[in-house]
C-alpha cells in the first residue's frame, strides 16, 4: 500500500515537473486542473511531499544540458580549462569529502553545488570559477553598473531543469563570448566583477520565486510609468489689478451644466466600478496561480555583504535583472549554500520564512558551515551561541576537525582573465578641442549617429563664422552656419541650408531685414556643359521679412514680401498697426501684355490687388502702384543677386574651411617668444645691438694713459712735471702712431704702384706674344690693382684729414682727464 501511494505521488510529481517546464502551455490548456490541484494541496502538504520526494532517489535522466548543444570551441581554450592541477585535484577530493559528510549529516537536504563540469567537461570547484576582476571602465566600478552590464549583456538561458542544480558551470570568459548563460553563469560573472571592484560579494545557490527564476517582471511596476514627482510649480500670480477686466460671462445654463456634471459623474462612477471590477478580476487572475513549485525552483544570485565599499546594509542582486533586493525580499525563498573565490559556506539555518530570518554572519559556524579553514572571515563573534553550537551537533564538529586538519588554501582561479573589450561598441560622439588655431576653430563636435559635424569658432574668423554644422562639405546640402553678427557688415546671424532652400537671419540692419528665405528650383540643364558655379540654381521664391521701422507708419512699412519669381507675382504684407488686428496686403502681378490696339499695357488696376486697413487716396492711383511695382522689380533683382551672393559666400567659406583644415596653421601669441619668428628676429637684433653697444662702451673706456702710468712707480701721487711729461709722452706716442700709420699706408700705396708699373712694363714688352688668356689675366690684375691703389689713396687722404683732428681730440681728452686735469689746468 505504501509503495502504491508513493507511486501515485511519483506520477503526480512527474506531472508537475512536466507542467513546470511548460508553464505557459499548462496555463492555457489545463487551467482548471491546476486550480483543482491548488485547492487540494496546501503548503504543508507540499513541503511534506517535497521531503518524501527527496528521499526517493529518482535517477537523473542523462540528458545533455541545453548549453552543450551550442558548439563551444574548446580547442582554443588554455590548458587550465582542460585539466586540473594537483592542488585542484586535492581540492576536489576535499570537496567530495565535505559533500559526503554533509549528505551524511543532513540526509534530507539536496546535494551541494560544489564542482560542476566546465565547458571542457572537467569538474571544477565553484570558488575557483570565480575570477575577481576589476574592469578598466569607470562605469563598471559600482555594483549597479556591473549588475546592469551583466543583465544587459547576457541573455538568459533557463536552467535545463528548474528544480535541479545545473550540471555544468562555464567559465566567465566563455559566457561572455557566448553572451548567454543561466543564473549561475550570470552570478559567477557578476560576483567576479564585484569582488574585483572591492565588494564583499558572494554567489548564492538557493531557491527563488517563479518570477525571479523566469526573469518575469510583469508583476513589477514599470519604471517608465513611475512618474517623477511633479514639482509643484506655484506660479506667483500677479495680484489682479483693481480694474482687470472680468472674464467673459458664462452664458451656458447652470442647470444643464449641473446635469452634465451629474451625468459625467455617473459615467465616471460606472467606469470606475467597471475598472475596479476589472482590476479585481485581474488581480484575482494574477493571484490565482500560486506557483505549484514554490520554493523548489533553483536559482542563483549574488549577495553583497555590508562593510566593504561603504555598503551600509547587505543586499541581494538578481543577476538577470540587475536589480537589488533587500535580504528580506519575498522573492528569495531559501539559501542552500554560498561561496566566493576563497571559501564555500553551507547555510545551516532554517528557511521556513524565506530568507527573512537569516543572519549573514559567515563567521558563525553554527549558522554557516564553511568548507575551508583559514579564510579571512572572522570567527564567530557571538559567544552566547557557542555552547549551543557545540552541543548542537557533534558530527559537525567532526566535520570541522577534518577540514581543519587539511587546512588548505583555495587554489587560484582556473579561469582566464575576464576581459570585456569595447569591441562592437560604437563611438557616438567625438569632441575635439583646439587652441591657438589660426582659423579660430575651438571645438569640433562629430555626432556619429547622425553624421552631423559641428564646428565652433572663437571670434576672429575671417568670415566671422561662429558655428558651422554640416553633414558634408559639399555645397547645396544641409548645413547651418552661425556668425558673429557684429563682425559682419550685413548683420547676418545664421544661414540654414537644405538642398532646396536657404534661410538667412539678420539683425541690426538699417533696412530692418530680419529674415530671408530662398527656395531654389531644380537646376536647369544647359546644353553647354558648364560647371555648377556658372549655372546657378534658378530661384523660385524669395521671402523676406522685415522688423518694424518705427519711423514709417505701419501701413507703409512692409513686414513681409514674397517674390514668386516663376509666377511673376509679388506679395506684400505690411505691419499691423498698434491698435488694429488686420494688416494691409498688396499683391502685384507682373504681366507684359499687349492690349487690343497693340499698345503695351503699362499698368492696369487688376495688376495690383490690395487690401488696405485704412484706405488711402494716393495708393489707389495707378501711378503709385506702378512706381511701387517698379521699385519692387528692382528689389527683386537685388534680392536675387543677394541670393546668388549668399551662395557664392557659402562656396567661399567652404573653400576657405577646406584650405584651413589642410593648412593647420597656428596662431602664435606675441608673448610666445620661442615660437614667434618675428619677435625672435627682433629679439636677436636687439641682442646684437646690445652686444655692439657693450663693445663700444668697453672701447670707450680704454685708458689711453694706462701704458704710461704703468711706467711710473705705483701708488705715488702724480707731480705736475710728471703729469706734463705724461701728457707729452702720450701725445707724442699718438703722433708717432698716426705717422706710422700714414707711412704704412704710403708704403703700401707705393708698393702697389711699383708693382703695377712693373706689370705694365712687362705687358708692353710682351704684348705681342701674349695669349688671350694671359692678356685677360693681366687686365683683371690691372683693374684689381687700380682698385687697391684707389682705396689706399682714399685711405691716405682720409688719414691726412683726420689725423690732426684725432690728435686734437686726444689732447682735449687728456686735458679733461681727471688724473691730469688739475695739473694741466694750472699749466694753461
Amino acid at each position: 500500500m505504501e509503495v502504491l501511494k508513493e507511486k501515485v505521488e511519483e506520477e503526480e510529481a512527474a506531472e508537475r515537473e512536466e507542467a513546470a517546464e511548460w508553464p505557459e502551455r499548462m496555463e492555457k490548456t489545463r487551467p482548471a486542473e491546476v486550480q483543482k490541484e491548488e485547492t487540494i494541496m496546501s503548503q504543508e502538504m507540499l513541503r511534506d511531499l517535497e521531503r518524501k520526494l527527496s528521499e526517493i532517489k529518482v535517477p537523473i535522466p542523462a540528458e545533455p544540458p541545453a548549453v552543450i548543444e551550442d558548439t563551444i570551441d574548446i580547442s582554443n581554450l588554455p590548458p587550465s580549462y582542460k585539466t586540473n592541477t594537483p592542488k585542484e585535484q586535492h581540492l576536489l577530493q576535499v570537496a567530495d569529502n565535505f559533500s559526503r559528510q554533509y549528505s551524511h549529516l543532513c540526509p534530507d537536504r539536496v546535494p551541494l553545488f560544489l564542482h560542476p563540469l566546465n565547458e571542457c567537461e572537467v569538474p571544477k570547484f565553484v570558488s575557483t570559477t570565480i575570477r575577481p576582476t576589476l574592469m578598466p571602465y569607470p562605469d563598471l566600478y559600482n555594483w549597479d553598473g556591473c549588475a546592469n552590464f551583466v543583465s544587459d549583456f547576457l541573455t538568459r538561458v533557463p536552467l535545463p531543469d528548474p528544480l535541479k542544480l545545473p550540471s555544468h558551470l562555464y567559465s566567465s570568459t566563455t559566457v561572455l563570448k557566448q553572451q548567454k548563460g543561466n543564473c549561475f553563469d550570470f552570478s559567477t560573472l557578476l560576483c567576479s566583477m564585484l569582488l574585483g571592484a572591492g565588494y564583499d560579494a558572494y554567489c548564492v545557490s538557493g531557491y527563488g520565486s517563479q518570477a525571479l527564476c523566469n526573469m518575469d517582471l510583469t508583476r513589477e511596476v514599470c519604471p517608465l510609468t513611475v512618474k517623477p514627482k511633479e514639482t509643484v510649480k506655484k506660479k506667483e500670480k500677479a495680484q489682479p489689478k483693481k480694474y482687470t477686466i472680468k472674464p467673459p460671462r458664462d452664458l451656458t445654463s447652470r442647470f444643464e451644466h449641473e446635469q452634465e456634471i451629474k451625468k459625467q459623474e455617473e459615467a465616471k462612477a460606472q467606469e470606475e466600478k467597471r475598472r475596479w471590477e476589472e482590476e479585481e478580476r485581474l488581480q484575482e487572475a494574477e493571484k490565482e496561480k500560486p506557483d505549484p513549485l514554490h520554493g523548489l525552483r533553483v536559482h542563483c544570485w549574488v549577495l553583497v555583504l555590508s562593510g566593504k565599499r561603504e555598503v551600509p546594509e547587505s543586499f541581494f542582486i538578481d543577476p538577470f535583472t540587475g536589480r537589488s533586493y533587500s535580504t528580506q525580499d519575498d522573492h528569495f525563498l531559501g539559501i542552500e549554500s554560498l561561496w566566493n573565490h576563497r571559501n564555500y559556506w553551507i547555510n545551516m539555518q532554517d528557511c521556513w520564512n524565506c530568507c527573512k530570518d537569516l543572519v549573514f554572519d559567515l563567521g558563525d559556524p553554527v549558522r554557516w558551515e564553511y568548507m575551508l579553514l583559514g579564510t579571512d572571515k572572522p570567527q564567530l563573534s557571538l559567544d552566547e551561541e557557542e555552547d549551543e553550537g557545540l552541543n548542537d551537533d557533534d558530527d559537525i564538529e567532526d566535520l570541522d576537525k577534518e577540514t581543519e586538519d587539511k587546512s588548505f588554501d583555495m587554489p587560484s582561479s582556473w579561469v582566464e582573465q575576464i576581459e570585456i573589450s569595447p569591441e562592437g561598441t560604437k563611438i557616438l560622439e567625438i569632441k575635439e578641442w583646439y587652441q591657438n588655431r589660426e582659423d579660430t576653430l575651438e571645438l569640433k563636435h562629430i555626432n556619429n549617429s547622425t553624421g552631423l559635424h559641428t564646428d565652433y569658432f572663437r571670434p576672429g574668423h575671417p568670415q566671422a563664422l561662429r558655428v558651422h554644422s554640416y553633414k558634408s562639405m559639399q555645397p547645396e546640402n544641409d548645413r547651418v552656419m552661425e556668425f558673429y553678427e557684429t563682425a559682419r557688415v550685413d548683420g547676418l546671424i545664421k544661414r540654414e541650408e537644405t538642398p532646396r532652400t536657404m534661410t538667412e537671419y539678420y539683425q541690426g540692419r538699417p533696412d530692418f531685414l530680419s529674415y530671408r528665405h530662398i527656395n531654389f528650383g531644380p537646376r536647369v540643364k544647359k546644353l553647354t556643359l558648364t560647371s555648377s558655379e556658372s549655372n546657378p540654381r534658378p530661384v523660385v521664391k524669395i521671402t523676406e521679412r522685415f522688423s518694424r521701422n518705427p519711423e514709417k507708419p505701419a501701413d507703409e512699412d512692409v513686414a513681409e514680401r514674397v517674390f514668386l519669381i516663376t509666377e511673376e507675382r509679388i506679395q506684400l504684407r505690411y505691419h499691423c498697426r498698434d491698435d488694429h488686428i488686420t494688416a494691409s496686403k498688396r499683391e502685384f502681378l507682373q504681366r507684359s501684355e499687349v492690349d487690343s490696339k497693340g499698345n503695351k499695357i503699362i499698368m492696369t488696376p487688376d495688376m495690383c490687388i490690395s487690401f488696405e486697413v485704412e484706405p488711402m487716396e494716393h495708393t489707389k492711383k495707378l501711378l503709385y502702384q506702378y512706381e511701387t511695382m517698379m521699385h519692387l522689380k528692382n528689389e527683386e533683382k537685388l534680392s536675387k543677386h543677394q541670393a546668388w551672393e549668399s551662395e557664392q559666400e557659402v562656396l567661399e567659406i567652404l573653400k576657405l574651411r577646406e584650405e584651413e583644415e589642410e593648412a593647420h596653421t597656428l596662431n602664435i601669441s606675441i608673448y610666445d617668444t620661442k615660437r614667434n619668428e618675428k619677435s625672435k628676429e627682433y629679439r636677436e637684433a636687439m641682442e646684437r645691438v646690445m652686444h655692439e653697444e657693450h663693445l663700444r662702451q668697453v672701447e670707450a673706456q680704454l685708458d689711453y694713459l694706462a701704458p704710461f702710468l704703468a711706467q711710473l712707480p705705483p701708488g705715488e701721487k702724480l707731480t705736475r712735471i710728471q703729469a706734463v711729461h705724461l701728457r707729452d709722452e702720450c701725445l707724442s706716442d699718438f703722433k708717432q702712431r698716426l705717422i706710422d700709420k700714414a707711412n704704412l699706408i704710403q708704403a703700401r700705396f707705393e708698393k702697389e704702384n711699383q708693382e703695377l708699373q712693373k706689370k705694365q712694363q712687362w705687358y708692353q714688352e710682351n704684348q705681342v706674344t701674349l695669349t688671350p688668356e694671359e692678356e685677360d689675366q693681366y687686365l683683371s690684375y690691372c683693374s684689381q690693382a687700380m682698385f687697391r691703389i684707389r682705396i689706399l689713396e682714399q685711405r691716405l687722404n682720409r688719414h691726412k684729414e683726420l689725423a690732426p683732428l684725432k690728435y686734437l681730440a686726444l689732447e682735449e681728452k687728456l686735458y679733461k682727464d681727471p688724473r691730469l686735469a688739475e695739473f694741466l689746468k694750472v699749466l694753461q
Binding site: K242, Y243, I245, P248, I581, T582, V613, H618
Partner: protein, 524 residues
C-alpha cells in the same frame, strides 16, 4: 542785379502754369503716360521748379501741401508770401529775386535749406520758426550790420552760411567775427572753416563771447525756472488747490478790501493781524487744504493710471486673440483658394467656395464675438471706474468743504474782534482819548458808529465772498473735470469699438469680394 526787370512782362502764377510745370517735372516715360492718364494732384507733388518764369508774386501754391522742395529762383518776386501752407517744405530757393525783407516764413518749421542769394535784403530777421535750418545762403545782399550775425546764434543746426557779396564782408575781421559768434558753423562762403581760423576767432573774441554766453545762460536758466514754476502751478491746478500753499488767498482777500486795509492801520488791528494770529491760522488751514488736495490728486492719478493700464492690457489681449484668429484663418483660406484654383470639377468648386464663404462668416462671427465680449467687459470696468472716481471726487469735495468753514469761523471771529476794536476806538476818538495819530482817510471812517460798522461789515463781506468763491471754484472745477474725464473715456471706448467693427467689416468684405472675384473668374 544784371537783369532788366521792366523789359519783360511779369507773369502770374496761375493754374495752367503750375500744371504745366508739374506735368513737365513729373514722372517720365511709362510712368508719365500713366500720370497723364490719371492726372496728378498738386498735393502729391513733392518737388516743384519754377525758375525763369518772371513771376512777380507767389500765389496759388496752397494746394501743394506735401511739397518738399520749391525752386522760385530767377524771378522778379518782391515779397515772400503765399507759402504758409507748405509746411513740409525742406528746401526753398528764392535766389535772384527782388526781395527786400525776410518775412512770411513763420510756418515753414521743417525748412533746412534756404537760399535768398542775390536779393536786396539788408537785415536778417523773421527766421525764428526755422529751427531745423542747416544751410542759409544770403550772398549778394545788402546786409551791412554785424549784429545780424548774433541773430543767427539761435540756429543750433546751422552749418553752412553764405554772406559773400554783402557790405558786411568789407569789415576787416568779418570772417573771424562770424567764426567766433557761430562756432558750430562748418562752411562759410563756400569754404570750410579751418581749425586755425576757429582758434584765432576764439582767442580774439573770447571775452565778448563769454559774456554773451553768460547772458544766454542766465536767460536760459530763468526760462527754465519759469517753466518749472509753471509746471508746478499746472500740477497744483490739476489738483484744484492752486495758490493755497501760502497766503495768497488771504492776501487776495485784502486786495479789494479798502476798508479792511484802512482798518488794519489801527494799531490794535495791526496786532490782530500779527503772526500767529489770524493770518497765520488762515494760512495753516489753506495749507491743510492744499496738502490734502495734492494727496487726493495723487490718488486719483494712480487710480486713473491703473484703469488705463488695465484697459490697455485687456485691449491688447483681445487684439492678440484677434490676430491669432485671423492668422489661422488666412492659412486655411489660402490653402482653400489654391485648391479651388486647381480644381476643375465645377460642382466641387462650388462646394469649396461655399465652404470658403462659410469660413469667412465664421471668422466674422468669431471676431465680432470677441469684440462684443471686450465691449461688455470694458463697459463694466469703465462703470466701476466711474463709480470710484466719482466717489473719490465726492469725498474730496466733502472734506474740503469741511475745512473751509474753519476759514469762515476764523473770519467771523476776526470780524467780531475787529468790530469790537473799531467801536472802542470810535468811543476813544469821540472821547478824544486816542493818543495816536490816525491817517486822514482812516479817521474819516470813525465819524459815527454806523459808518464804522458798515465799513467793517463790508470788509467782512468781501472776505467771506472771497473764501466762498474759492470754495465754489474748486468744487465746480473738480466736478467738471470728473465729468469730462468720464465722458472722454466713454467716447474713446465708443470710438475704439466703432473702429474695430469697421476694420472687421472691411476685412470680411475684402475676403468675400476676393472670393466672389474668384467665383466670377471661374464661371467665365
Amino acid at each position: 542785379m544784371n537783369r532788366i526787370y521792366n523789359s519783360v512782362e511779369p507773369r502770374v502764377m496761375d493754374d495752367d502754369m503750375l500744371k504745366l510745370a508739374v506735368g513737365e517735372q513729373g514722372p517720365q516715360e511709362e510712368a508719365g503716360q500713366l500720370a497723364k492718364q490719371e492726372g496728378i494732384l498738386f498735393k502729391d507733388v513733392l518737388s516743384l521748379q519754377l525758375d525763369f518764369q518772371n513771376i512777380l508774386r507767389i500765389d496759388n501754391l496752397w494746394q501743394f501741401e506735401n511739397l518738399k522742395k520749391l525752386q522760385l529762383d530767377n524771378n522778379i518776386i518782391e515779397r515772400i508770401e503765399g507759402l504758409e501752407n507748405l509746411t513740409q517744405l525742406v528746401w526753398l530757393d528764392l535766389s535772384f529775386n527782388n526781395i527786400k525783407v525776410i518775412e512770411g516764413l513763420d510756418t515753414l518749421v521743417n525748412l533746412e535749406d534756404l537760399s535768398l542769394f542775390n536779393n536786396r535784403i539788408s537785415k536778417i530777421e523773421s527766421l525764428d520758426a526755422l529751427v531745423k535750418l542747416q544751410v542759409l545762403s544770403l550772398g549778394n545782399n545788402q546786409i551791412d550790420n554785424m549784429v545780424n550775425i548774433i541773430y543767427l546764434r539761435q540756429f543750433k543746426c546751422l552749418r553752412t552760411l553764405s554772406l559773400s557779396g554783402n557790405p558786411i564782408t568789407q569789415a576787416e575781421d568779418y570772417k573771424i567775427f562770424i567764426c567766433a559768434y557761430l562756432p558750430d558753423l562748418v562752411y562759410l562762403d563756400f569754404r570750410r572753416i579751418d581749425d586755425h581760423m576757429k582758434y584765432l576767432a576764439e582767442t580774439k573774441y573770447q571775452y565778448t563771447i563769454d559774456e554773451l554766453k553768460h547772458q544766454e545762460h542766465v536767460r536760459q536758466t530763468k526760462l527754465e525756472e519759469k517753466q518749472a514754476q509753471q509746471a508746478k502751478l499746472e500740477e497744483h491746478k490739476m489738483a484744484f488747490v492752486e495758490h493755497l500753499n501760502g497766503s495768497f488767498l488771504f492776501d487776495s482777500m485784502y486786495t479789494e478790501d479798502m476798508e479792511g486795509n484802512k482798518l488794519s492801520c489801527l494799531p490794535i488791528v495791526g496786532e490782530l493781524l500779527e503772526p500767529l494770529t489770524y493770518r497765520d491760522k488762515f494760512v495753516i488751514i489753506c495749507l491743510n487744504i492744499f496738502e490734502y488736495g495734492l494727496k487726493q490728486h495723487e490718488k486719483r492719478k494712480l487710480e486713473l493710471d491703473t484703469f488705463h493700464e488695465c484697459v490697455q492690457e485687456a485691449i491688447q489681449e483681445n487684439q492678440e486673440q484677434g490676430k491669432l484668429q485671423i492668422a489661422s484663418f488666412e492659412e486655411k483660406h489660402l490653402l482653400n483658394l489654391s485648391a479651388i484654383r486647381e480644381e476643375s470639377d465645377l460642382p466641387s468648386i462650388e462646394k469649396k467656395i461655399v465652404e470658403c464663404s462659410e469660413n469667412i462668416t465664421e471668422l466674422f462671427n468669431v471676431l465680432m464675438t470677441l469684440e462684443m465680449q471686450l465691449v461688455e467687459q470694458l463697459e463694466e470696468t469703465i462703470n466701476m471706474f466711474e463709480r470710484n472716481i466719482t466717489d473719490m471726487v465726492g469725498l474730496f469735495i466733502e472734506n474740503v468743504q469741511s475745512l473751509y468753514p474753519f476759514c469762515n469761523d476764523l473770519e467771523n471771529h476776526h470780524h467780531e474782534k475787529l468790530l469790537e476794536i473799531s467801536i472802542s476806538t470810535l468811543e476813544k476818538i469821540i472821547k478824544g482819548e486816542l493818543d495816536e495819530e490816525l491817517p486822514d482817510d482812516v479817521r474819516t471812517l470813525f465819524v459815527d458808529k454806523d459808518t464804522i460798522v458798515n465799513a467793517v461789515g463790508a470788509s467782512h463781506d468781501i472776505h467771506l465772498l472771497k473764501i466762498d468763491n474759492r470754495e465754489d471754484e474748486l468744487v465746480t472745477r473738480i466736478n467738471s473735470w470728473c465729468t469730462h474725464l468720464v465722458d472722454k473715456i466713454h467716447k474713446d471706448e465708443i470710438m475704439r469699438n466703432r473702429k474695430r467693427v469697421k476694420e472687421i467689416n472691411q476685412y470680411i468684405d475684402h475676403m468675400q469680394s476676393e472670393l466672389d472675384n474668384l467665383e466670377c473668374g471661374d464661371m467665365d
